[in-house]
């Protein structure tokens, strides 16, 4: 199994790499277009700022590459947000794989802290990505921006209001949470992606 983790300026590639090692997979971490194109599966991780990261992807011509990939692709956290059409973070147009808006959490009082940091439960699971995952399983989130609910939502989570904790369209999968930091549940989800 040849898995490429896309290397870019704001990725937490190390955590994803470690998680795959624990599953017995040796991924390659690369921004080389040919290596990514030839991979069996591609992971697009992310921690960082949407606008600066989109610019970096464009500079490296990774934007065109990612949206045209035909093998299974998994976006994580900022990766999911960048696969949407537009983000309020820096008011930037994104890859438009999912026709979904990325918005900032708005809390009227301090009851809901921003960023959302911690373990929250998933429901309405509907994708092979969540095989053997129970409804209401807890996974780890760290984010101030969220993807709106849409027909491509494959997992929902509530924070202030329901949002898309997972998205899927054709060969593109994405999670807002960090499977690589979500203990045993996260391992199963990454394992599911590897066997899709």
């Amino acid at each position: 199994m040849n898995i490429a983790i896309i290397k870019y300026n704001a990725g937490n590639t190390k955590s994803v790499e470690h998680a795959l090692h624990r599953l017995g997979i040796q991924p390659i971490i690369t921004d080389d277009i040919e290596q990514i194109q030839n991979a069996d599966k591609v992971i697009f991780p992310g921690v960082g700022h949407a606008e600066t990261t989109m610019q970096h992807l464009k500079d490296k011509k990774l934007d065109i590459l990612i949206k045209n990939l035909k093998q299974p692709v998994l976006g994580i956290c900022l990766g999911q947000q960048l696969m949407c059409s537009h983000s309020e973070e820096g008011n930037v147009d994104c890859l438009n794989i999912f026709p979904v808006q990325v918005k900032k959490f708005q809390s009227t009082d301090n009851q809901f802290k921003i960023p959302q940091i911690g373990w929250n439960n998933l429901y309405n699971l509907k994708s092979p990505l969540f095989n053997n995952i129970d409804e209401n399983s807890f996974v780890y989130f760290v984010h101030s921006y969220y993807c709106e609910q849409s027909e491509f939502t494959i997992a929902t989570c509530d924070y202030i209001h329901p949002f898309s904790a997972g998205l899927q369209k054709d060969n593109f999968y994405a999670t807002q949470f960090h499977p690589e930091k979500s203990a045993d549940i996260g391992n199963i989800i990454l394992g599911n992606f590897i066997t899709i």
Binding site: S15, A19, N110, I114, P115, G118, N120, V142, H143, D184
Partner: protein, 251 residues
Amino acid sequence: MLTKRIIPCLDIKNGETVKGVNFVDLRSAGDPVELAKQYVIQGADELVFLDITATVEARKTLLHLVEKVAAAINIPFTVGGGISTIQDVDALLNAGADKVSINSSAVRNPDLIDELSKQFGVQCIVVAIDTKLEDDWKVYVKGGREATPIYTKQWAKEIQERGGGEILLTSMNHDGTKAGFALDITKWCTDNLSIPVIASGGAGNNQHFTEVFNIANADAALAASVFHFGEIKIPELFEIDTLKTKELKVI
């Protein structure tokens, strides 16, 4: 529902845990990696590693340790102690830390908070405050050894405005007493800040966690020796109402 977080803290010196531990089944009680794995099994939500050494040589040891921890555990962890530059943070994150915690260096140079959060994102910048009650709550630095004229409430607000992602609030009046957390200053922070607050100092029994979550509304609670010595068992904390659903997290 977002659950409250339980965070064990490990003090590290020259790559080893400092405070004694009495977990059974540990190959080496002083090995932070073994201890970290044990806490993951117990259901800890995150871990904090606090490096209490400061020499250059010890920093290299710390980076090596962070790499080993990152390879071994699959929950988030924060590293704090002696961090004062962008390069320090870059090295720790590259070694696999998810967040860093800064303290004295942020008081000395508040612009550091802005610089770090801009460079790495607010989500990985934890600002720790050591505080002590005088005429009002005041900020202490250098591991609580040095007083400052700064008021904690004002400083907490400033941290938020400058882009701190979370506040780790330790009450020096309560730390080590096992008499409960500082509910008043913790509640003031959670009521008046829009970023999460981690309460620290004073945990002595399960009831103290219930109080700090339900009365002070803390987003997370941190403790060290009561976990290391097994006086409080993390799985038992899941009985607390706000945490109950987390049982589902662990398979």
